[in-house]
Each structure stands twice: as C-alpha cells, then as structure tokens.
C-alpha cells in the first residue's frame, strides 16, 4: 500500500484514551487457567468486540474477522460502553458503562454478555450497578481465576470490586475503595480519577493509573478486598491515563495524557510499589498505548501515526523502531500478536493489519468497518 493510499484510509485522532488493549493483554495473561475446562472455544482472533457511542446511542458491535471480508455480524444497544473486558474463559464479555446515572442513582454499571463460541454473538445476561458515586467508570479487569471484576471509576474517584459467579455473571459490588486527590500550593487541588488497571502476575497486587491525582497506585487484593499499599506521583502535569504491564511483570508503562509522554517504572513487588520512572520519553502526544503480547514491543498512537517501540527486556527502556501513518484511538492485538486492529473514535474507521514480531513493522492496513464514535475494543 502506498503512503498516499494509506493516508486516504486514515483518520484524525482525538485525545480520547481507553485501554482496550490492556484489557486484551490482561485477558491473555490470565486465560490459561480459567479456560482450561472449557470444551467450546472460539479460535483466537476470530472475533472483535467494539464499543461505540455515548449514552443511549451506545452499542457493542461484533466483528467477524475470520474471513477476508471482515464484517459486523451483530450490534447490541449498550449505554456508553467505554471499556470491554473478556472473562479469562472467553465465554463472557463485560461492558463498562460510563454513565453518570444508572436507574436514576449516581452510579455507573457493568453488563455481562455470554459469548457464543461459534459465531461470536452476544446475549445480555445481567447488568449490575456500581456503588453510589461510582459515576463514569473507565476501565476494568477480571482476576486470572475469574473470581472478581475490578472496576476503575474515573468520575467517582474509586475502585469497585464485584464478585463473579462461576458462570461469570457479576454479583453486587462487595468491595470499594474511595480514593482522594491531592493539594499542594504549587499545583492546587486535584481529585482522583482512576483510569487504568493492571494486575501483577502474582494475582495479588493491583496497579492503577490515576489521571486525576497523577499517580500510580498499588493495592493488595485479597478476597475481593483492596488494601492500599502505595501511591507514586508520576510527575507534575503527567495525568497518566493508560498503563500497560510488561509480560515479565517487572515494568509498567504509563501513558501520560497531559504531557503526552510515556514513563517507564519498575515494579518493586516486594515493597508493593512502583518506582519513580527511570525513563520518560516524549511520544509526540500519544493518546493510546498497547503492549504486544510478546513483551518485545510497545505501540503508541498520536492521531497521525502509530509508533512501535522496542523494549529492552533488562531495563524496560524503549526506543522507536517503526512509525506508520495511521490514525487510531485504540489498538489491540490478537492472541498471537500477529494481527492488529486499530480504531479511530473520530471517523469510526476500523483497520486491520499484520504485525511483524521480528521487527515491529506494521504491514498493510485494511479498512474492515466503519463505526462512528468507536471507543473500546477487544479481540477474542
């Protein structure tokens, strides 16, 4: 594909940032145990789920990737599906509804859909409200054993924990941690806005990026209860909005939406904290970030380009290796990391491409669908 034809297929970038790619990575990292007993499984990378729209205009779309002419096979109404998350069994999809009221009370909600392994179609099974004041939730993850769904609540400045039944359906919120902001003479006052979650491979340490209080927080997770361990201010004016973990769980990468940088932090699991960044690198105002399943590459997108960064496995430091002209607000890989999907919230265009695990190069991008206001993405 020539550069000119590629540009014709690209689309402008917004600053909207959500980490469906992180959801995919989390699901990937945890899929093994919980899905072992399943007898019916779809082939990895066969379906993609895309959330779009705000409020009552929101929807979840099922995209069949199995054929060369990828197509939308189902669209379901879903209020503001800001984030989509798969259960480790891949049999349940969760939609996080970023609303300010649910059933007239100030709270968001989460819906669980069963996934038909054969055709990828969704069936709504249950919707649970979040706790009071948990408005505009932003992100979520499922614990590797499939026992709990943890939701980051940007609007309410809190974390909600919902137990999951054996069949993956969420029960009412059982755990809550209400976060606070900070105030300094120099920086004024800011309130908390948790926006991204990562669960350490030990399954007990939750890491959270908080755009509002500009921090990376760590919590001890046990029996659905969160106990704060540490809070690290990233840097003044950072506003970390997304965070991904390296496959070796030694490093995390925070995308700082205010200054557009990526900061690299070591995880000191023995002390339950993240360290101050040992690398902070400008990304030309990236506003989405994705970790390749291999842990060899980090991808960022800034509205005009997608950049692949090579990761030094020992230090975690990154340096750019490939840049491609393409607009994206969300990036996700399939389980093998060979296929990449990118969506642009502004134009709604969804493109698919091949990714070279050897070089970090992104091959031909093909437009596969157009979904206005596409904002969340996960690949089954």
């Amino acid at each position: 594909m020539s550069e000119s034809s590629l540009q014709a297929k690209t689309f402008p970038m917004t600053r909207r940032t959500f980490s469906a790619s992180l959801a995919a990575a989390a699901a990937l990292s945890s899929a093994g145990k919980a899905s072992a007993s399943l007898t019916r499984r779809s082939r990895a990378g066969r379906f993609a789920y895309i959330g779009s729209g705000d409020g009552e205009t929101g929807a979840i779309h099922v995209l069949d990737l199995s054929k060369s002419d990828s197509r939308i096979v189902q669209t379901m109404a879903a209020a503001s599906p800001v984030h989509l998350e798969l259960h480790p069994s891949k049999s349940t999809l969760y939609a996080i509804h970023a609303v300010s009221e649910w059933e007239n009370l100030p709270r968001g909600s989460v819906s669980a859909y069963s996934v038909d392994a054969e055709n990828g179609r969704l069936t709504l099974r249950r919707t649970q409200p979040l706790a009071l004041s948990a408005i505009h939730p932003s992100h979520a993850l499922v614990t590797p054993n499939g026992s709990h769904l943890i939701v980051a609540v940007a609007g309410g400045g809190s974390y909600n924990v919902l137990p999951l039944e054996d069949n993956g359906l969420p029960l009412p919120v059982s755990g809550l941690f209400k976060e606070v902001g900070f105030s300094t003479e120099a920086d004024g006052s800011k309130t908390s806005a948790p926006s991204s979650l990562v669960l350490h491979s030990n399954g007990r340490t939750l890491l959270a990026a908080d755009t509002g209080n500009e921090s990376l927080s760590t919590f001890h997770l046990e029996a659905g209860s969160l106990t704060p361990l540490h809070r690290r201010r990233v840097h003044n004016g950072s506003g970390p909005s997304q965070m991904v973990s390296h496959a070796n769980s030694r490093f995390i990468y925070a995308l700082n939406s205010v200054d557009g940088s990526v900061s690299v932090h070591r995880i000191d699991i023995s002390r339950g904290q993240t360290q101050a960044s040992h690398q902070r690198i400008a990304t030309n105002d990236a506003n989405t970030i994705a970790m390749h399943p291999s842990g060899r590459f980090l991808l960022t997108a800034n509205g005009a380009t997608i950049t692949a960064w090579k990761i030094d496995r020992l230090t975690g430091r990154i340096h750019p290796v490939e840049t491609l002209l393409a607009n994206a607000t969300q990036i996700a890989f399939d389980g093998q990391g060979r296929t990449l999907l990118a969506v642009d919230e502004h134009s709604g265009r969804i493109v698919r491409g091949e990714f070279s695990i050897a070089t970090g190069a992104i091959g031909q991008l093909t437009e596969v669908a157009t979904l206005p206001s596409a904002r969340s993405l996960v690949i089954l």
């Binding site: 300010s100 309410g156 809550l176 209400k178 902001g181 105030s183 309130t191």
Partner: protein
C-alpha cells in the same frame, strides 16, 4: 478516641440499624463498622481513619433518616455523633447557646428551658436529634410563631475532607466559609461533612403553656363532598386568616387517615394547639378555627387529639367524643415543656417499624380536583395493601415566611401555608412492594392535578406548591431529572449547593441517593 463497633461486637446488630426497619435492606448492605464518637476530636480522628481506608462514611445523629442514606452503606462506616449531645448556655443562661449535633430535641428543649427559658422552634419528635433536624431546616410546632430552627443558627462546627484526603475542622459562620455555613442551614450537613455542633447567639423565649383541642370526622359517615368541604375549610383558613400574625401562635394538624373496614377507628382528625408565652393561651383563635368545621357535618369534639402526626393515633376513644358545640371545645392545657416532650417518643419510627414518607409544601388551599384525588386514594381498597397510612397536613407559614431568609439559608420554601407529610408504617417486609407502590401511585396522581405536564407527579414549584422537604426525603423523586429543584427551589440554590459541594467535598466523600450531586 471513638468506640469502634464491628460485627464481632454485641452492639453491632443494634447500632448498624436506624429507626426505619426497612434499612439496611439486607445484611450485605450494612456497614462494616460504627464509630461512636464522644466529641469533635473523636469525629475528626474517626473520619480520617475512614477516609484513609477508602471507606464511605455516613453520619448519624438521631437515626431518623427516612431513607437508606445512613445505614445502607455496604462495607462502609457510620460516624455516630449521638453522644455529642451537650446543650450549653452562656453565663447566666444568656447566649450564645451551643447544641451538640447528637442532642435529642426533647433533651435540647428541656435543657434550654430549664437553663435559660428559651427554645429552638424544633420538631415534634422527642428523639430526633439536632444534627439532621437543624441542618435540614428544622420545622415543628413553633414554626409559625418563631420560624425554622436553622433561622437562628449563627455558627456551626463541621469536619470536612480536603482534596488531599485530610480532615479539616471548621468553625463556619457568616464571616468564615460563609457559603458552607449557608449550605448547612437547610442543605443537609451530611452533604458536606460531619456537623458536630450548632451555635445560636440568641434564641426565642419558650412558651409557658400549650392548649389544644380537636374535632374528628369518622369515615362511616364520610362522603366525597364532605371530605372536600373539610380539607378546603382547613386549607382556606391558612391561605387567608392564617396569615394574620395573631394566629401564628397556633399550630394545627389535620390527619387524613386512610379509610379502614367498617367500624374501624381513624377518620379525619383536626387539632389546634395554641401557645401561651406568659400565662395560659388565648383560646379565641383556636376556637374560631375549630368552629369552622361545624359547617362540614357531624363533627365530633376530640378532647385528646393527636397534635402532630408523630403521636400514635388515639385508639378506642371514639365513645368519649361528643358532637361539637360552637365556641365550646374541650381544650386541655398543659405546661409547654410537658406538652412538647411528653409522650412523643420516637415518632417517625422506632426501629421495629417499616416506613415510607413523602412531602409537599402548599402555597394555597386544596383545589377541588386535588381533594377529590386524595379522597379517591384514601378510600381505595387495594389487594395486598392493608389499611394504613396518613397524610399529615401541618399548618405552616407565619414566621417561616420571611423571604429574605431564603437567601441567607438553604431553605427556599418561604411562601407556603401548609406542609404535608405522607406517612405509612407497617411491620411485614412482604408488604414493602405493594405499600410503596400504592403510596407512589397516590402521590403521583394527586400531584398531577395542578402541575404542568413536565413536572406532573410532583408538587413542583408553581402557584400552588413549593416542592418538597429534604428532611422528609423520598427516593422515588430521583426519577425526575429536576429533583434537585424540587427540593431546593428554582432560584439558584441547587447550583449554589453544587458549588459548595465541589469546594468543600471535592472527592464526594459524603454521598447518598439524594445527596447534592456535583455538576456534570
């Protein structure tokens, strides 16, 4: 240091509950702990621990919250300020006066009376405590004569939580955090922090005596026409004659009980209570008032009427009632303190009773259609909804209607002449759904008569109504996007409260189903 009560403590089962047995709705909705505080230092320290643990704090003074705002708090913590119950006066019984947030009104009345011969024009339930009562406005039997409790507050001690999570102890008044001070005068302090004490530079004198008498109309001989006549006689008085200052020492109550089976008790009861500041009251005004009802039909004289909705309905005393005679009502006169604190117990629920409540401020008399709808629902028989429920129509107006105080407090209702409280009590949880549904249907229908289509189902502010009272909260109202204005008016108070909320509780630490929601 506060006393921490967890599920392992034998006190937990009692202290986790309030006075409305509906809440917590289930065990999993209950708090993880209750922090029983004895002073403001305890409150600040307990609040800091709760915030540090990422828990949701709720606040309890007397435990009378009608909805689930306090005890439905899964895994959270109740800050119990009921032990902050000191009532202090200045030297020689002069001002300033200090009332702890946990002071029960009955005790506050008693202490202020004995120490200083003053009172707060508070409510009618002995066990309601100052914290919720005053910060939600605070009205009662003396309101027509002396105004609202919040109208007299000159300073407040309150603990708030800063953006960084640190607890701040504030002494707020017109010159210090004046916006927060105003917000706590009707905007419910538990929206913004934990109130620990109220201060009053001066307070009104306590009455010396109170006389009361009543009339009663049995359901057996009631007709729709007669019912409309009765309620319009009542409402008409307050729309006109009741605005004259000489009537302000009189508080009246009209209890519209739901009709029961043939021969059952209840009916339409009307009482008039007259206060005498020095000596026994002049009874000419309540006599004039009660005489009006002789034109409505077979009025019976009630020598022992319920003077407020919080008194238990009189049982088995119908035979003591005789036909009313003009100018000759059976007044009973007692000292004001005895009349105010005696036998009023735990009105509004005692912890074993389930309850549901609604409210309405009325600026005018009942319209015929409105009265007709009330009659229809009071006489309706509904499967699964046993007899019960009362619409308590209290007199209002008088000293509460000082328009300038709408701008100095967070009580915007300053033009109403009656205040209605819909009350329903029951015991069996199995009746919850049917009873709440019945109440909602009744209320929605009544308040669709005189309200435009946009606000139908509510007594939204118009020529007839002034919305609802936040101390009688009703979560059914949150289905209306304008519920904030319904309770706080249309003159900018609600946005003001949202601003105060953002400023003093930036993390929205203090929240419930009807708390002030930060601006979107």
């Amino acid at each position: 240091m506060s006393s921490t009560v967890t599920a392992k403590d034998p006190r937990y089962d009692l202290l986790r509950r309030g006075r409305n047995a509906r809440f917590p709705a289930k065990d999993s909705d209950a708090v993880a702990r209750i922090e029983v505080c004895q002073n403001a230092e305890d409150v600040a320290e307990a609040l800091q621990r709760i915030v540090g643990a990422g828990m949701r704090p709720t606040v309890r003074s007397g435990g009378h919250c009608y909805e689930d705002f306090v005890v439905n708090n899964p895994g959270g913590a109740i800050i119990d300020v009921s032990m902050l119950n000191d009532t202090e006066t200045g030297p020689g019984g002069k001002g300033p006066y200090k009332v702890g947030a946990g002071g029960m009104l009955g005790s506050v009345y008693t202490e202020l009376y004995k120490k200083a011969n003053v009172t707060i024009p508070g409510g009618s339930c002995y066990t309601v405590a100052a914290g919720g009562h005053i910060s939600g406005g605070g009205y009662g039997v003396l309101a027509r004569l002396q105004g609202l409790s919040c109208d007299y507050v000159t300073a407040i001690d309150i603990c708030t939580v800063e953006a960084n999570g640190k607890v701040a102890r504030r002494h707020v008044d017109k010159h210090h955090d004046a916006d927060l001070f105003r917000a706590c005068l009707g905007g419910q302090g538990s929206n913004f922090g934990v109130i620990t004490a109220f201060y009053f530079d001066s307070l009104p004198a306590a009455p010396q005596y109170m006389s009361n008498a009543g009339v009663n109309f049995p359901w057996e001989t009631m007709t729709e026409e007669k019912f409309i006549h009765i309620v319009q006689t009542y409402g008409g008085y307050f729309e006109k004659r009741g605005k004259d200052p000489d009537t302000w020492p009189m508080f009246t109550f009209m209890g519209l009980n739901r009709r029961g089976p043939e021969g059952s008790r209840g009916g339409i009861g009307i009482s008039a209570s007259m206060h005498g500041m020095n000596g026994e009251p002049d009874l000419s005004i309540p006599t004039e008032f009660l005489d009006l009802f002789l034109k409505c039909g077979d009025a019976h004289s009630d020598p022992n009427p319920a003077t407020t909705s919080h008194q238990a309905p009189r049982r088995g005393d119908r035979q003591q009632m005789a036909p009313c005679v003009a100018g000759k009502h059976a007044f009973s006169t007692r000292s004001w303190l005895d009349a105010t604190t005696g036998g009023q117990g735990a009105g509004g629920g005692n912890g074993n009773t389930r309850g549901k409540y609604k409210s309405c401020y009325m600026k005018k008399n009942f319209t015929t259609e409105e009265a007709r709808r009330i009659y229809k629902h009071l006489t309706r028989e509904i499967s699964g909804v046993p007899v019960g429920g009362i619409i308590a129509v209290d007199s209002y107006g008088g000293a509460t209607n000082k328009p300038h105080l709408a701008n100095e407090t967070a009580m915007p209702q300053r033009a109403s002449v009656m205040k209605l409280q819909f009350q329903q009590y029951w015991q069996d949880p199995a009746e919850d759904e049917a009873r709440i549904k019945f109440f909602d249907e009744m209320y929605t229908d009544i308040y669709s008569a005189n309200v435009n289509a946009e606000h139908a189902g509510t007594p939204f502010h118009n020529e007839f109504y002034e919305g609802c009272y936040i101390n009688y909260p009703d979560v059914d109202m949150v289905r209306y996007p304008f519920w904030g204005e319904l309770y706080y008016g249309t003159e900018g108070l609600f946005p003001f409260l949202q601003g105060v909320k953002k400023k003093y509780d930036p993390n929205n630490i203090f929240h419930n189903a009807m708390s002030i929601r930060p601006k979107a």
